[in-house]
């Protein structure tokens, strides 16, 4: 049918139809619609930022140290990071947490709640010291982080003389 219509149209109307291309177009369009739908579903699930697929935990939950972070986030928008220290690791009146310098170099630390008592700088890690209410109680610190570079972003967080956890966000441009 295509060839005949095309031929008649070209003869009488001078119409530059290209039905083969048109049909390819339609197929690509429909594939495109499916892709758009998948993007929307992916976004709802958290493939591009907030959502269940993006939520992750590094380290053993209810252990000595675990970090709740986002697998996927976007450039220049603030993401939450929660550092949890289990009861077993809070022995004295202070908790000391080390955050890798490389991490803080490619992401800016917008906020840290509560404010640390003291910050020490080292070649590889920054050490944040917090006073605790009483030993033997689990504590948590909330960080707000804004990635300044796209791509994978790896952070290391450790307890001073304790376990270390490593996690990677993927930052969309």
């Amino acid at each position: 049918m295509d060839a005949k219509v095309e031929e008649r149209a070209a003869r009488t109307l001078q119409l530059a139809q290209d039905l083969a291309l048109q049909r390819r177009d339609w197929i690509l369009q429909r594939v495109g619609w499916i892709l758009l739908g998948l993007v929307v579903i992916g976004a709802l699930l958290g493939l591009f930022g907030a959502g269940p697929l993006s939520k992750a935990v590094a380290g053993r939950q209810e252990g000595e140290l675990w970090v709740e972070y986002r697998r996927f986030w976007r450039l220049q928008s603030t993401m939450d990071l929660q550092i949890n220290v289990g009861a077993a690791a809070v022995t004295g009146r202070q908790v000391r947490i080390r955050i890798s310098r490389a991490y803080l170099e490619s992401a800016s630390l917008e906020r840290i709640v509560p404010q640390p008592q003291r910050v020490e700088v080292g070649p590889e890690f920054f050490t944040y010291t917090f006073d605790t209410e009483a030993p033997g109680q689990p504590v948590a610190m909330m960080l707000a982080i804004e990635a300044t570079l796209p791509g994978p972003l790896t952070g290391k967080i450790a307890l001073k003389r304790g376990p270390q956890v490593e996690f990677t966000h993927f930052i969309y441009p």
Partner: protein, 150 residues
């Protein structure tokens, strides 16, 4: 460098999106389509500018977008294939008063839209007065009426 990259990425992205959404989105803009376009423009603007609101940045963006546009139009003149890929091809949808159902369905055009165009453009009353109806590349429907033989 940022402005040029942003401009290029957004240009290509919008080109693909509007191509995927099909001709219907561009021709015959309804009020709601218009509102949607405004929202798209507003959303794009932020991605384009980022957090740099300087005059230089906006100039660079405008220059980038216009340059790509000119470049593509030159390329399209050289390559008919590219032209057809980017802009699509016209499509015959009514032939001698007979609607070509399959094409109309695929192109998401119904008979009423053809008749609307026929009334607007030629003052025609019935489908059988249409010799040819063509869905043009810009999404408009054009009508060639049958010659009345009295």
């Amino acid at each position: 460098m940022d402005a040029v990259l942003r401009g290029t990425v957004v240009y290509v992205f919008l080109l693909i999106i509007f191509r995927i959404s099909g001709k219907r989105s561009l021709g015959q803009v309804t009020t709601f389509d218009f509102v949607l376009l405004l929202i798209i423009a507003e959303t794009t603007q932020q991605a384009l500018l980022g957090d740099d609101f300087s005059v230089t940045n906006s100039f660079l963006l405008i220059v980038t977008l216009v340059t790509i546009d000119i470049g593509l139009s030159l390329l399209k003149r050289h390559s008919q294939r590219l032209d057809r890929m980017l802009e699509g091809t016209p499509l015959l949808i009514v032939e001698h008063g007979r609607p070509l159902e399959e094409y109309m369905k695929k192109a998401r055009i119904d008979e009423q839209e053809v008749m609307q165009a026929a009334r607007e453009l030629q003052g025609l009353e019935r489908l059988d007065q249409i010799k040819y109806a063509v869905l043009e590349r810009n999404g408009d429907i054009t009508i060639v009426p049958k010659q009345e033989t009295k």
